[in-house]
């Protein structure tokens, strides 16, 4: 125990010695909430305590998450998480880019659902600069963001089951994720880093092939969920691995600021789609799945049901897109890119295109706005401040994975070492987003 504080890290480690010293010191001085073996129990003759580093380079940590845990036998007594291994400083980068230029960076934040990040960024800029968005673009955005939610939940499910030892489910979910990749490829021209949304609308309208692919996916996917439910909902191994672990009460999740399915798995009815409806969420019919148990199994059911609701929303969007016709980007050259036909065949269009690339949209000086969407991980918000130029003065990103990981530190304490990978999976973190 005392050996940790006596270690001279400047001698042992040349690389970031003070960082490791502070980390282990924190682990040493942190209050342990676990009850010890009780009064009068004989002291443990064997030293069972061990400090273990899991990550940052470990496949089960879903990215570059480093968990430093202090073990007492098989039980995690204390845990300290260390993030920042993927820190690229996107907030700093955003301050030096125009609003439209920053869009490709949002693809790389939560890389499991890039489309939803694009939409979140666009909505924040549109709120700040007061840009109107045509109705058709809003339906397209909503449909694609729901597809992104499904694709993110598919990864969570496949990887979560692989963590529990079932590799085949990973391959099955990936098959449908591949379908969604193909849809994005058809609609946006890229499989992963889509950047399809634009400030003031979307880049291109959907073609018939794209609509057909989405329709086919939406028709066939509920059947797949039903088959997975048949496999998993009564699966002894899967249930036993998940039930009762990582338990959080409603008060705890609210206090720790957790968001998304982690909040709703503990019985707190908070979803940004209902709380402050953006796009057209107030016009579609869907329910928000809530469970009150608060354990890993509850979060599994919440996410599974969310996928079903997403399919329902996609079907309604497809029906709506048949009747809602019109432009997909606002026709205001000061606020949005002009149509490519204008750019190629008119002088004004070319000038506007140049000006928009060079300066872009310039919200009024001193304006500040916060806009959030319900991403698959939870509340993904951007707080933007303008100084009147084309670059944001301050672009702050409220990322759900960051807030959720804070709760993981608490969840790990008292859990068994073997449940650690399940608990990381149930939080569903993406380190690209948490590390900014």
């Amino acid at each position: 125990m005392s050996s940790i504080s006596q270690t001279d890290w400047t001698e042992t480690l040349k690389f970031w010695p003070r960082h490791n010293e502070a980390l282990y010191k924190r682990l040493e001085t942190k209050h342990s909430w676990l009850e010890t073996s009780g009064d009068g129990a004989p002291p443990d003759p064997l030293e069972h305590e061990m400090v273990l580093n899991i990550g940052p380079q470990h496949p089960a940590t879903h990215g570059v998450l480093r968990c430093v845990v202090k073990l007492d036998g098989e039980t995690i007594e204390k845990s300290v998480l260390d993030i920042g291994y993927l820190h690229r400083g996107v907030e700093k980068i955003a301050e030096n880019k125009t609003y439209q230029e920053f869009m490709p960076y949002t693809d790389r934040m939560d890389y499991l659902q890039p489309y939803a990040n694009n939409v979140a960024w666009c909505l924040a800029v549109e709120k700040l600069a007061r840009v109107d968005v045509p109705e058709r673009a809003q339906w397209i955005r909503m449909m694609m963001a729901e597809l992104a939610r499904i694709s993110s939940h598919l990864i969570w499910m496949g990887v979560g089951l692989m963590d529990a030892g079932a590799v085949s489910v990973f391959l099955w979910t990936w098959q449908f994720r591949e379908d969604i990749y193909s849809i994005f490829d058809e609609v946006a021209g890229a499989r992963l880093t889509v950047s399809h949304s634009r400030i003031g609308g979307v880049a291109t309208d959907l073609n018939d092939t794209g609509i057909g692919m989405i329709q086919k996916f939406a028709d066939s996917f509920p059947e797949a969920i039903a088959s997975w439910e048949k496999l998993l909902n009564r699966n002894r191994i899967w249930i036993d691995r998940n039930v009762g672990i990582g338990h959080l009460t409603a008060e705890q999740v609210v206090a720790m600021g957790m968001t998304g399915p982690n909040l709703r798995g503990s019985g707190v009815a908070h979803d940004i789609r209902r709380f402050e409806p953006y796009l057209k969420y107030d016009e579609v019919d869907f329910i928000i799945p809530i469970r009150t148990e608060g354990d890993a199994l509850a979060r599994y059911f919440v996410r599974l049901d969310e996928m079903k609701e997403s399919v329902k929303i996609i079907q309604q969007c497809l029906a709506k897109l048949k009747t809602v016709k019109g432009p997909v980007r606002t026709d205001d050259a000061k606020r949005s890119y002009p149509n490519k036909d204008e750019v190629y065949y008119s002088m004004e269009g070319l000038i506007h295109d140049f000006m928009y690339t060079d300066t872009g949209v310039a919200p009024p000086k001193g304006a500040a706005a916060y806009s959030a969407i319900e991403a698959s991980k939870g509340e993904l918000g951007f707080y933007l401040q303008s100084d009147g130029t084309g670059n944001p003065w301050r672009a702050r990103m409220n990322s759900p994975s960051f807030t959720n990981l804070q709760g993981l530190e608490h969840m790990l304490e008292g859990a068994h070492m073997g449940d650690l990978v399940i608990l990381i999976g149930t939080i569903d973190p993406v380190l690209g987003e948490a590390d900014k």
């Binding site: 709120k127 908070h270 100084d387």
Partner: protein, 228 residues
Amino acid sequence: MADSSNTPKAPSTLPFSFVPQEPETVVENNPHAKASSQVGDVMDALKSHLGDDFHELVVYAGEHTARVSHSRIIDTCTFLKDEKGFKYLADLGGIDRFTEDDRYEIYYNLVNIEDGKRLRIVIRIDEESMTAQTVTNLYPAANWNERECYDMFGIRFEGHPDLRRMYMPEDFEYYPLRKEFPLLGVPGSLPLPPQAPTGDLTEDPFPAAHGHKPPQSFEEVKSEEDND
């Protein structure tokens, strides 16, 4: 007209550069304004609660932002949490205003889940002390956000249980989101692991930009044993 030569000429603006405009008329009817941000009554209650420590109320895009004294932030949060039901801290972050007095600000994004309300509290930090009071006792969720704010702006939080840097290693000595921090970073501030097992740390994160040629993988790097 004789003294007109003494008055300095107005600086001419370059014809193709973009000149920031002063704010237009108050932007109203923002299509993206949300019903959740209509918290005028809460702001009135907060104003009567704080008195002179309630400095200003800014409304933009339907969102209410109250600036209060930094010494009363605990009081403000306690009032909002216990009496107005804002139990959920959605976001907390720093802002650097750079050229203004008291350039650092911290904003608190608070949510009332039951009533569906959201508001924002802003405090300005005294530049001499560079400290703020922590709200982790009221909102445990603020823990990591305050660490991030300390990491990025160097604002210390009094009474924070674990004020370490969030993203950058402790060995890093700068605060990257301050406006004076260069976008490309500071050479030598973030050493990288040695390129050979027995070599020195790479002190420059952008060696190529400063004329350094790192050894290539096909080149055999001499170890200390070869030198003996």
